[in-house]
């Protein structure tokens, strides 16, 4: 497999950019440029003589790359994704996973495949790590709120912790809400009244 591709990764998130670049290095690609801020994006991509530009689909700067397509020869124009020859649904898989590839030099699907596969895998990995982290943080925050609400109930009603939690849970069930939402409402009300 030809590993002499010039790859540009447009990614403001440093962790994600590092993961993608590392992943590509591991499988043998050497010519990788990471662009973090999008000032003068199109001229920098041209200067890097990129064959492939990888960019997050959620990044609005993707539209700046369209300038590349305007200045070049229509027969050899860069395409965002080659739908015509994309029999394996590579384009769709890439976009659905959150990466979009901008192919600069009429690159064939065979040559792009390993690049995209790796980028998608690494992109998803960072995404999963992020989700886990936010989940853990949220769980911690929720625990804090519930603890405060329990404390408020224990003091106001002279009940023990177990009874306070049971009361929160019963109220939540009666109102079809989450325990944490009921706890939050109580904490907010208490803050307002204090």
């Amino acid at each position: 497999m030809d590993k002499n591709l010039s790859i540009v990764v447009v990614e403001p998130d440093q962790d994600r950019a590092r993961e993608i670049a590392e992943g590509l290095t591991v499988i043998g690609y050497r010519d990788i440029l990471v662009i973090g801020d999008t000032a003068k994006l199109s001229s920098r991509v041209v200067a890097a003589q990129a064959d492939v530009v990888l960019i997050d689909v959620a990044n609005p700067s993707r539209d700046i790359l369209e300038e590349l397509a305007v200045v070049s020869d229509p027969l050899n124009r860069p395409v965002a994704l080659f739908v015509d020859e994309d029999k394996e649904g590579l384009a769709k898989a890439a976009i659905e996973s959150g990466i979009s590839a901008y192919v600069v030099n009429g690159l064939s699907a065979d040559r792009l495949r390993p690049v995209l596969d790796t980028a998608i895998a690494r992109f998803n990995m960072v995404g999963r790590m992020r989700t886990e982290l936010t989940q853990a943080k949220r769980a911690l925050e929720e625990r804090k709120v519930i603890d405060r609400a329990k404390g408020l109930l224990m003091k106001a009603r002279g009940i023990d912790e177990e009874a306070a939690y049971a009361l929160l849970r019963r109220t939540a069930m009666d109102q079809g809400r989450k325990v944490v939402d009921v706890a939050q409402a109580l904490v907010t009300a208490a803050d307002l009244l204090s």
Binding site: T38, V57, A58, L81, S100
Partner: protein, 387 residues
């Protein structure tokens, strides 16, 4: 109930599609719309091309550019089944530029595009760096048409996504911009710039966004295609009623759509613009038109005008380009969709663009259709029958 995936970019003029889904106009046509926001126009175009969405809110010049094999899209034929909105864009300048324009005595008259151009070019750095959202956009066409010969070597046009326009102007990456609402108002809110003209002052009837779909999808799914065109047009008619503005602003402001304060969205919807951080106001009549004056009818001549501009820049053959462009705006699909709805449609599919300074009645199926004033700032006309 058939389910359609419809792409949009979070902008005020995505309203017809959002309102069709939210206010029951799609359901009335037996459609459930699954709306998919996209961060960029190139992404919407690609989603359409490989079938991730069935239809999309799209810049009017994008399907035309595709037909002329310009730009980075895949080689897939796209068509416009309806125009979703006319105008709704603003031109603005950075605060330092606005200050210098003020010093020349410029009064920020929204009805004086020639005065604004002279004042801008007199004080602007060389080259003037001007941001537009996409290389194939009515914004690009309007500013180049407005600057004309004066702009050819004095202006450098850069692509800046709408949501990044305020930052680009605040960071001195650009001196001026043309963008769709609410992003112009947000530049003002961030005290980064001042608005100098509405897009309407350059062309009072510029087709801004269209309902785009793959040509083969539209051909093979005529039922769904027509239902979607009808739902969008009925939503547009609702939006065209000034009484709807408040509710429309509330719906659009929701986090799954524009996620911006309703008050800022209301400025574009009502045409009451705050143009500077000093709080100066301008009232713009028909700032954005969703329905009035057969706004939704995809005139072949509109596509031809766009095709002619694109061809001139890319050095393509004018006659061929105009023919290819005209085939993109499907007035035939639109007529087919309106059959039996009681909504009036023009008798012709093409018209002379820029030919009427006042509203005029036009031959139509029920004889009660008027066209809005249609005029370019320089009073030139575009006759599709003449090359």
């Amino acid at each position: 109930m058939s389910v359609l995936n419809v792409g949009f970019v979070p902008l005020l003029d995505a309203a017809p599609i959002i309102i069709a889904a939210e206010m029951g106009f799609a359901a009335e046509e037996g459609l459930a719309l699954n709306l998919k926001p996209a961060a960029s126009w190139s992404l919407v175009r690609d989603m359409l091309a490989f079938g991730a969405v069935d239809a999309a809110h799209m810049l009017a010049p994008v399907p035309v550019a595709s037909a002329l094999a310009l730009g980075g899209g895949a080689n897939v034929s796209l068509s416009a089944g309806a125009v979703l909105s006319m105008n709704g864009t603003v031109i603005g300048v950075s605060e330092p530029t606005a200050m210098r324009m003020r010093d020349t005595g410029f009064g920020f008259d929204f009805a004086d595009p020639i005065g604004a151009r002279e004042a801008l070019l007199a004080v602007a750095p060389k080259p003037l760096r001007l941001g537009v959202p996409f290389p194939f956009s009515m914004h690009y066409e309007l500013v180049t048409y407005w600057l004309g010969a004066a702009g050819q070597d004095a202006v450098e046009i850069r692509t800046v996504p709408p949501s990044l326009m305020a930052d680009a102007i605040a960071n001195d990456e650009i001196d001026a911009f043309c963008v769709g609402e609410p992003w112009g108002s947000l530049v003002v809110e961030q005290t980064a710039g001042t608005l100098i003209l509405p897009g309407t002052s350059i062309w009072s009837q510029a087709p801004e966004k269209v309902l785009a779909m793959r040509t083969d999808w539209g051909t093979e799914n005529a039922g769904s295609r027509n239902a979607l065109i009808r739902a969008s047009v009925k939503a547009a008619r609702w939006l065209g009623n000034p009484d709807s503005a408040t509710i429309a602003a509330e719906i659009l402001s929701a986090s799954e759509f524009l996620d911006l304060p309703a008050e800022v969205l209301d400025r574009g919807l009502s045409g009451q613009l705050t143009i500077s951080s000093r709080g100066e106001n301008r009232r713009v009549g028909a700032f954005v038109s969703f329905f009035e004056g057969a706004a939704n009818f995809p005139w072949r001549s509109q596509a031809e005008w766009i095709g002619a501009q694109l061809a001139a820049r890319a050095g393509l053959d004018q006659t061929e380009a105009r023919t290819a462009a005209a085939s993109v705006f499907r007035s035939d699909w639109y007529r087919d969709a309106m059959e039996g709805t009681g909504l009036d449609v023009p008798g012709a599919s093409s018209k002379i663009e820029g030919a009427n300074a006042e509203a005029i009645p036009v031959a139509s199926a029920f004889g009660r259709l008027s066209l809005m004033p249609n005029q370019f700032y320089d009073c030139r006309v575009f006759d599709p029958d003449q090359t």
